[in-house]
Symmetry: none
Subunit: 208 residues, 4 copies
Amino acid sequence: MPLPQESPRRRATSEDRRREILDAALDVFADRGYAAARLEDVAARAGIAKGTIYLHFADKRTLFMELARGAAAPMFERIGALSASNAPIDQLLRTMVEQFREQVLGTRRKEVFRLVITEGARFPEIAEFYHREIISRMVPPLRALLTRAHERGELPSDAVARFPQLLIAPMVVCILWDGMFNAFDPIDARGLLDAHIELLTGRKDIRS
Amino acid sequence: MPLPQESPRRRATSEDRRREILDAALDVFADRGYAAARLEDVAARAGIAKGTIYLHFADKRTLFMELARGAAAPMFERIGALSASNAPIDQLLRTMVEQFREQVLGTRRKEVFRLVITEGARFPEIAEFYHREIISRMVPPLRALLTRAHERGELPSDAVARFPQLLIAPMVVCILWDGMFNAFDPIDARGLLDAHIELLTGRKDIRS
Amino acid sequence: MPLPQESPRRRATSEDRRREILDAALDVFADRGYAAARLEDVAARAGIAKGTIYLHFADKRTLFMELARGAAAPMFERIGALSASNAPIDQLLRTMVEQFREQVLGTRRKEVFRLVITEGARFPEIAEFYHREIISRMVPPLRALLTRAHERGELPSDAVARFPQLLIAPMVVCILWDGMFNAFDPIDARGLLDAHIELLTGRKDIRS
Amino acid sequence: MPLPQESPRRRATSEDRRREILDAALDVFADRGYAAARLEDVAARAGIAKGTIYLHFADKRTLFMELARGAAAPMFERIGALSASNAPIDQLLRTMVEQFREQVLGTRRKEVFRLVITEGARFPEIAEFYHREIISRMVPPLRALLTRAHERGELPSDAVARFPQLLIAPMVVCILWDGMFNAFDPIDARGLLDAHIELLTGRKDIRS
DNA sequence: GATGAATGAGTGTTCATTCAT
DNA sequence: AATGAATGAACACTCATTCAT
């Protein structure tokens, strides 16, 4: 819920400017990695002067961390939707995987996640943030969901329920593979993720 | 007919020196990432002068790439052993996972893999090298092995056979999780990897 | 968002605004020195926007110079009063010293003088201004005064008459000492300046 | 007494390099003041590269502080010599003043002192250092000396004994005047300092 | 081979100044 | 008049790389 804005125009512009900088920063950070990225390139790509960045972000590190945090918000909705649902588990998993392909792999957001994965070890705050805000909030409902599915006989094993990381692992691999090998051996993300669901549920999907 | 060898002594010494530098480099690169690592720190940790590094490696990039390549060699042996075996698949998988835990996760070699994963996108040569030397050599025998197992009924699904990445994904996640969250939420790698085998084989392990 | 103004006059006059800026500038320049002072801090302290400074002063240098010049005006009056007087020299000196303590050392004006002393060498215009407007106007009447006092036997030596800087030197030292050592060894300005008059006149003051 | 040097050549060279940098730094700091001085200019004047400065000094501030501290050492000798002497006070004072003119005013060391005076307020460490190492060590022997002289009747007043700053004040003024007004009104330091001694001792010097 | 002092291009960050609103 | 976002030149400091010893 946005606070009342004293000057809607100005505020909007400032918010836009922030967004432009974050967009440009994503390109540059994704391209070169955090340490090798140059703020001058970020500025150039955003079409602004170098100093302008500092009107919106305290320093390079802060810019990076706000970029990394930015990708977290959209995940909550998916989590909420998932844990609330009573649909059969394979349908849920398929929805989840489809959303991942469409909203992460198919967009620039995948770059943010790759950055989180590849730079996370050097940014304790980001690691903690993701653990606290994403992982520790995601695991309990996921586990509940998967446990229920197991108890209903929809999942042959409780392995994923005990280690929900197993559900996520192939997606992580998709992002990493895409970043490393895409040029000469692009991944068939759909095939891989469908195969993974098959492994989990023990059932082959008959796709329309 | 032996080729003329340069002095065995000198060669051995030089090789030792190389190894010391690579060891030190692993520490520093793992700690700070490629771009932020300082060769001065590498030298200090190796107990040598900065310039000495350049007697053994052309430049920072080369040093890093040779470090990255170094972890590849030991994998061939495992691959060979695996594909030659006729043992039941769950036993093979358990051996493989155990080796991973003992020889990668339990050693500093996990740092090399983490570096390959996190810096790979910025080092096309490394990406290509790993794809060419590891992945493209590993996939066919792995696939054959898993296909055979599926056909013998040891694997309920051919999903892993079609996407051997699914076999590797949890190990990747182990390495990444270890690097990011170990301080406050250490991973139970054995549990996770056993659960994964359970998923693949459909059978719970009865460990002695 | 401007608060409703407490004062009935809607806007400060330009002269008031100038004064506010100069006041704020004195604080900031005194605190950090000319080069390290930031106009943004001046603006913040004056409660105005950064750009507003430029409506009243051409640039940072000009602002500083007008600040430095500002402290000069009040000195003329003292000089005039001094040179016109026929009172005994020790009384005059005591008055002078007392005025210095009350109107310079005891106020923020001492900061202006410290700035003139410490930055003067870097601001030829200020050096020239002070030499032209203060020193070269002050020396002749001072010299006349002191010479007369010497001839009347009120001063045992003509040394100060020949070098009126000797009269000023302890005051300069007071200002500098205050700025450097005040925190841990505050100066007894009254004692020091009284002792100085004793040196000049050869007579100890019997203070009431 | 120099310690045994492990590598006389190297050590001597490094010491020389330090000295060259300090010399160049004195020029630049004296010319522009601390904040406005550019280390690139220091390097250029020393005939070295910018980075070389950092092999010898941690940063700009440290460079400045070591420069400021450097001028302190030579003063101890003078202090020791003075306080040990039993010569008549006016002779001591004349020696002191002469040394000041020759070894401070007549050399680049006066620039160091000007820097200490003008930047001291912004460098608490320097202020404390000078107070601790110079002033607090200088005052007691000076006071003892001047008190003895007063008791022997060589000084008509105990004013300087009580406030030894009065002895120093004219020298401070000489340094400042020299920096600000020298171009158009050079000071007659000898005349001024002699006049000051006359004030203190009540005796005119008959110079040869 | 080994050293480590020296280099200098490169980059994050600051801040006086401008100008559209 | 006043604002404050934007600019971009400037500068401290870093570090891969070289080379004389």
